[in-house]
């Protein structure tokens, strides 16, 4: 279609628009950073499952588990980044979407024998709807007030679910071991399905956050982050944009909740709505660089690996929390832009490659 462009007259608006769009999309999709990230995540996820022979599966089992944790974090923090990094709204209680998704998903699996993918869709949808409803209310708040409201909502939700009988109240929900065998042959096979689902979600999260960032909508979000009132005056519709961003950042975590709690076979209010975990997500984003595509991915990877080292090392085992705290403080004080942000700012050529 580019050949037709040669005799395109300036007044040929439609063709120009098409050409423009074509150029934008080619440019968008040829950004090296996007592909580096996608390929990186894929390789990271594929390596532990590349060799399916029983010996290799056994040898790679720990790697699969820890990679699963990393992939899960990638989805969670890349999603949260849409709200936090692009829009500048600090959601402390973002775990509410993960918890609710997990509950809805497990409920459908236990009560209606839904397959995993359908339960994931349900969990994602529930999270999206919750974000829409909550967002319409609390996105009127700015700065720290918004952050506090998200904490309040998470606590209210936890207390509510503890009393809500269809979700098992304080006891929670639990999946019978037979479910894995009957549906997938064995827990191993079920885990492989979950693993692949998580890998898919991780890549989806990267693509989603890239598409949002490189879109007009994303530009609007970043304008809101920099100066909400000024963006309003320039014609960005802050309220609507924020709600959409909130929903986009909630749906994938809702689906992750389903996969994670399906893997654990059990869900309880305290595990589903644990505020501390939610704050860890913020830490990962800060480590990698907020508002970037690669930052959350690297942050998740680095943070989870670091935690593994601390948790399993004889020396740090007892004070791993304090060590992680010191690291976080160091990052906040000295490299507030995170790893990717720091590189982009100080080493100019990285700007073309890192995103």
């Amino acid at each position: 279609m580019t050949t037709q462009g040669t005799d395109a007259k300036p007044q040929n608006e439609l063709l120009n628009t098409l050409l423009d769009n074509f150029k934008i999309w080619t440019k968008k999709l040829s950004h090296p950073g996007l592909w580096i990230t996608i390929v990186g995540v894929f390789i990271l996820g594929y390596l532990p499952i590349a060799d399916q022979s029983p010996e290799a599966a056994f040898a790679n089992a720990t790697a699969r588990e820890s990679t699963f944790t990393i992939l899960m974090s990638i989805v969670l923090v890349s999603s949260l980044n849409i709200l936090l990094g692009y829009t500048g709204y600090v959601s402390f209680g973002h775990i509410v979407f993960y918890g609710l998704g997990g509950y809805v998903g497990l409920y459908t699996i236990i009560e209606h024998q839904w397959p995993l993918w359908k339960a994931m869709a349900a969990g994602g949808a529930a999270a999206g709807v919750l974000a829409l409803v909550l967002g319409s209310a609390i996105l009127r708040l700015r700065g720290a007030y918004f952050a506090l409201a998200t904490i309040g909502i998470n606590e209210a939700m936890r207390a509510f679910v503890s009393n809500y009988d269809p979700f098992g109240g304080a006891v929670g929900l639990s999946i019978h071991f037979r479910v894995y065998r009957e549906t997938y042959g064995s827990y191993q096979d079920a885990f492989l399905v979950m693993y692949k689902a998580m890998l898919g979600l991780a890549i989806a999260a990267v693509v989603l956050s890239y598409l949002v960032k490189s879109s007009k909508f994303g530009l609007g979000l970043m304008a809101i982050r920099e100066d909400e009132d000024a963006s309003d005056i320039m014609g960005v519709i802050p309220y609507r944009s924020k709600i959409i961003a909130y929903m986009l950042s909630a749906i994938l975590p809702g689906m992750v909740g389903v996969v994670f709690f399906f893997k654990a076979s059990t869900i309880e209010p305290a595990a589903a709505f644990k505020l501390h975990t939610s704050i860890e997500w913020l830490v990962m984003i800060m480590l990698g660089g907020f508002g970037t595509i690669m930052g959350p991915v690297l942050g998740a990877y680095g943070y989870q690996n670091l935690r593994t080292i601390l948790l399993t090392s004889e020396f740090f085992k007892n004070i791993q929390l304090a060590v992680a705290g010191l690291m976080l403080l160091g990052i906040i004080l000295f490299i507030p832009a995170g790893l990717i942000g720091w590189l982009r700012r100080h080493i100019s050529f990285t700007r073309r490659v890192l995103t």
Binding site: T17, K216, G220, A223, I233, M234, G235, P238
Partner: protein, 258 residues
Amino acid sequence: MMILQVKGVSKRFGGLQALSNVTVDVPPGQILGLIGPNGAGKTTLFNVINGVYKPEEGEVIFKGKNVVGKKPYRLAHMGLSRTHQIVRPLKDLTVRENVMVGACFGSQNLSLGKAARIADEVLEFVRLRERANQLAGSLNVGQKKRLEMARSLAARPNLLLLDEVLAGLNPTEIAQMVEIVKEIRTRNTTIIMIEHVMHAVMKVSDQMLVLDFGKPIAYGTPSEIANNPKVIEAYLGDSSLADQFNAELAAKSAATAE
């Protein structure tokens, strides 16, 4: 038909009457200078016009529609742009992205690709083209002012509100900026400008409105305003400005005498 009609607008903040019964008509293509001592309500009037504040009384008719109660973004979509007295660059975005925000979300509602083209054009126009890839936060004050200007121009507004775009600029920059303003007007954009740099605003305005304590005290051509005793008296309340006013009048008459 007038592009903007402000009819009997009053705005109160607690006990402070920021605007009382302000009325002014702006025909298309005109430059209206808005002057008055500090705290006279000039910026408040801007905020009322573009929907940041809702007035207690009165109407603001933009392009034939009463826009009181409409959100700022609605007015932006209708073709209203403004700059801020204290510049508000989107610091962590590049200069080009800043301008693209204006182009994308203003009255034209452009796609990113088009917006980028427009942004480069406009940046060329305000002489910031070579800084397009820099972060907006790294610009100096003069450049930031031009960026604000570029951002609002990129929206292709019908009405442009300029809030002290000359303040804090050195004489060369002022001259540049005045050229830019004149140029904009040739593009059929109506302008209202708040300004303290008298000689400049007098030079470019078609009509001028003077506010004092929220009340309109004079309206007319620059020369009518310059000779209006009420205006001078208002400024005398603020001695430094009165000095400035007189000095500039002297300069202006000297200039016209030449």
